[in-house]
């Protein structure tokens, strides 16, 4: 393998991995603080991808303003999601919340997927594919040509991860979210309001999922029925990185992205999806308790 080829694969792996990290982190933050296992997480990504495609391809917006609109719009969707589906579970034992949230969000995922596919096929294009091809010129780094859209994706992912990190470590609500994730009993005793925290986390988490969906289709196209597959990847990366752990999700996401890209190059693209299953298998084998709580045995 030549060096430029290696570097090109490396950039590709970083792009995919950064996207995995972003979607996994919002998934795992929701799981850690609210005990909601959001099966619809990947579907919100696909919805974000669809909304971005609509704004850019059919309404002619630039990519960055479109992403801004998508993030803002899905803050609202996240608020509604929390108020309608999760409010009734507030105050229940965490095990009950976990089980009922799986059922509720699984139903929601199927319903949203079907609606999106139907709407798109009927009113936009008969063959729904969500993809963005912004004209951002590529540039050369030494011998390597870096594609403009990919570099943009990497840049935006880095900014969003940085913003999430600052939110969690510097703001009151972020510290409250970490406190709730670390010790719910302690958080309740000192008078933190768990509803306030779960409202904030779900709102921001859904918006981050939608935004990562928009970014995703700048690198890899999606169709309306890939949401549950994406949820599975988010679940895997969050379990491998530690539930609620931002650096962990980043490392696990990038590792998985690189593994997929290099496997795809050497063994053929049909082997790439096997990587995430291998990771999930390893986590289940080595630290089964970690998939829901972030703590090993």
């Amino acid at each position: 393998m030549t060096l430029p080829l290696f570097l090109e694969l490396l950039v590709g792996g970083l792009v995919v991995g950064g996207l995995y990290a972003l979607m996994a982190f919002s998934f795992s933050l929701i799981l850690a603080t609210t005990h909601v296992l959001n099966v619809a997480h990947g579907v919100f990504m696909v919805l974000g991808a669809a909304a971005s495609t609509l704004l850019v391809r059919h309404l002619g917006l630039g990519v960055v303003p479109a992403f801004g609109l998508v993030a803002a719009g899905f803050l609202l969707v996240g608020m509604i999601f929390e108020a309608v589906l999760l409010k009734p579970m507030a105050g229940r034992a965490s095990g009950e919340v976990l089980v009922s949230s799986i059922l509720v969000t699984f139903g929601l995922a199927l319903a949203l997927e079907a609606m999106l596919g139907f709407y798109w096929a009927r009113h936009v294009e008969p063959q729904p594919i969500f993809a963005l091809h912004p004209r951002i010129s590529s540039f050369a780094l030494g011998d390597v040509v870096v594609s403009g859209p990919r570099a943009t994706v990497l840049g935006i992912v880095a900014v969003v991860v940085g913003v999430l990190h600052l939110l969690l470590t510097r703001t009151r609500i972020g510290k409250e979210a970490r406190a709730v994730a670390q010790n719910l009993a302690g958080a309740l005793v000192i008078g933190l309001n768990p509803r306030r925290v779960s409202r904030a986390v779900l709102t921001i988490g859904i918006a981050a999922a939608a935004l990562s969906g928009g970014l995703f289709v700048m690198a890899i196209p999606l169709n309306p029925f890939e949401g549950l597959r994406l949820t599975m990847i988010a679940f895997t990366v969050s379990a491998a990185g530690g539930v609620g752990n931002l650096p962990g999700a980043l490392a696990a996401g990038i590792a998985l992205g690189l593994a997929e890209v290099f496997t795809g190059f050497w063994a053929g693209p049909i082997w790439s999806p096997m990587m995430s299953l291998l990771v999930l298998f390893a986590v289940l084998l080595l630290r089964p308790a970690a998939i829901l709580t972030g703590q090993g045995r």
Binding site: K175, Q182, A185, G186, V189, I190
Partner: protein
């Protein structure tokens, strides 16, 4: 010695003196079918220090948890500063001035000492964050030294100080402490009780749950002895200390 203690506390002022402080009447709490607190009535006046004693499983912790809104009682009435607390979530009770230093401390182990303290502060209540922090650091200089350290790496005594400091950050008017001396070396216990005495002198009301009665009765003005979910003994600390066989009969330490 089941003499009724009906005299109203001296610290009460205003037109409705009976409404001030904490009042519990006929409290009953169950875990499923298991009745843990049968019938508990007690009062803590503003600024008063009261000990709640009793053997393991008598219902002391459960009483505190019911007052703090962590478990709902089946029966009885709890009021604080004249407000009925029934159905009120814990965060509203904290805003009303109730604080609890729970059994097991319940810190945030992966966060720094200072972050733990900051989280105890209730925005808009009491002094500003920086002033509250400075005050806690004055009370516990050790916490200032360790403020960048993760709470999970502190020793038992330091963790207890942090738990108390975190509760003080919310500017409580009544602080409930659940076995603050549990698992600590005697020297540390003395230090802790010195601090509690200081807090009492500042006018903070304390309700202290203990299995080990000496320190608690030396500090408190009054005490209650709980056994199998009922108050079996109640009176001024001096009287309880002189009670023949208090330890053997009721506390089985």
């Amino acid at each position: 010695m089941r003499e009724p203690h009906r005299s109203e506390p001296h610290g009460a002022r205003g037109r409705a003196p009976a409404a001030r402080g904490l009042k519990i009447r006929g409290l009953q709490v169950r875990y499923g079918e298991f009745v843990v607190v049968q019938d508990v009535s007690l009062t803590v006046a503003p600024g008063e220090i009261v000990a709640l004693l009793g053997p393991n499983g008598a219902g002391k912790t459960t009483t505190l948890r019911a007052v703090h809104g962590i478990i709902p009682p089946v029966d009885g009435e709890i009021t604080y500063e004249g407000r009925a607390l029934h159905g009120m979530p814990t965060h509203e009770r904290v805003a009303l001035g109730l604080g609890l230093v729970p059994e097991g401390r319940e810190l945030f182990p992966g966060m720094t000492v200072e972050e733990n303290l900051e989280l105890g502060h209730v925005p808009g209540r009491g002094p500003a964050l920086a002033d509250s922090l400075a005050d806690v650091y004055r009370l516990f200089p050790l916490l200032r030294e360790r403020r960048r350290q993760q709470a999970g790496t502190l020793s038992g005594g330091e963790q207890q100080m942090l738990a108390i400091g975190r509760a003080l950050m919310a500017a409580p008017t009544l602080l409930m402490l659940d076995e603050p001396s549990l698992g600590l070396a005697p020297r540390i216990v003395d230090l802790l009780y010195d601090t509690l005495r200081l807090l009492g002198e500042r006018g903070l009301a304390l309700l202290i749950v203990e299995q080990y009665v000496h320190e608690a009765l030396a500090l408190a003005a009054r005490g209650y002895v709980l056994e199998s979910g009922r108050i079996v003994l109640h009176g001024p600390s001096a009287q309880l200390r002189e009670h023949p066989n208090l330890q053997q009969t009721y506390l089985s330490v």
